[in-house]
Subunit: 212 residues, 2 copies
């Protein structure tokens, strides 16, 4: 089972590494980071670089596609190496997935037209504009398309996907392997629970603000 | 504020990337991945490689030290580049932290003698043998030493640390930035909640089993 996580400049690291940390534990999984060519790809913070061990051309038919998000998503919304590969890979994939604003890339490729999906909390209206039906959920399955909310939601989505692929018990084993028993010290992880002034300050500074 | 995350072969990726994803959002933070020399360092799964952008010699006096865990921790328990740097860096650090079995490296260096600390759920007895006082907590502060439980606990620990450094509101802002509103699809993330047969099967296969 080949799982390809796509990388692009200014991706959000946890969007990619969260699902990797879950999915590499699946029996028979071969996880590969890929980009338009083999190279080191730097994240949104410019302080974390992950190696893409394959080019998109090397992995034309993955079983599972994972598209992370991050500020660099904005440069991946039109035909180009990532979109071209995504369309090709999606034609034969078993699951096509995204984390955070990676859903906008899927939507821009036309893969989420009329489908239920989720994305980063600030990007729901943008996702709607791109033809999807945004849901206030941590992750959403619609056919073979699986989308996660922002950043850390990729861990939850990947565990849910692991359950579909390998059964609940295997997914539970993976959850224990990564001791995923979250206890955030604050309850500020969603706009529904964060202080209004924090939500508003954030939304005003967001790259989605002008259009949101 | 310089934050150095140490890398070594066969580290666990989320141990390092979870805290990075939180701490790089801190105002004034400069986060640097370091190893004994600048190179690409491959994780426990052999499918994820992070670049160490600095050598340990380049970063002798970080404000915050982060030591991840993973199977490769076993090779970092005696004097060598990582332990030598850790002792030097700890002499002037404001915070010295670990995730998962990274606590065993801190303990082996003598930094947790008599201190309350936590680690991966399977490694508590090993941590005790190394002179620390293991706690069943998601993260533990004891003086300037901050230790997290397994893998995903580094996210919780880093948010708690962000709160100490920059105040609750800043930490809450970061939590919203990474939409950290966890909803695991199962309740199997700790030995207290996972099915007993999963816990036992895991413990029997663990590298800590023979000594645990």
């Amino acid at each position: 089972m080949q799982i390809v996580i796509a990388l692009f400049d200014r991706f959000t690291a946890l969007d990619a590494v969260g699902p990797h940390q879950v999915l590499h534990h699946l029996p028979g999984a071969e996880v590969i980071f890929a980009a338009e060519r083999t190279r080191v790809v730097t994240d949104e913070s410019r302080t974390l670089s992950l190696r893409a061990d394959a080019s998109f051309a090397d992995v034309p038919r993955p079983d599972i596609v994972v598209i992370p998000g991050g500020p660099g998503q904005a440069d991946q919304m039109t035909p180009g190496p990532l979109q071209d590969w995504l369309l090709q890979a999606d034609a034969t994939s078993t699951w096509t997935t995204s984390v955070c604003t990676g859903a906008l890339v899927l939507a821009a490729a036309g893969l989420l037209a009329g489908r239920k999906a989720t994305t980063y909390w600030l990007a729901h209206e943008e996702l709607r504009r791109l033809g999807a039906d945004p849901q206030q959920e941590r992750w959403v399955f619609d056919g073979k398309y699986v989308t996660a909310a922002g950043v850390s939601a990729g861990i939850d989505m990947a565990l849910a996907l692991a359950g579909r692929i390998a059964g609940d018990e295997e997914a539970q084993r993976i959850q224990l392997a990564i001791e995923y028993d979250p206890h955030p010290p604050y309850d500020s992880g969603s706009p529904a629970t964060a202080k209004p002034e924090i939500v508003e300050g954030f939304a005003a500074r967001s790259r989605f603000a002008a259009r949101g």
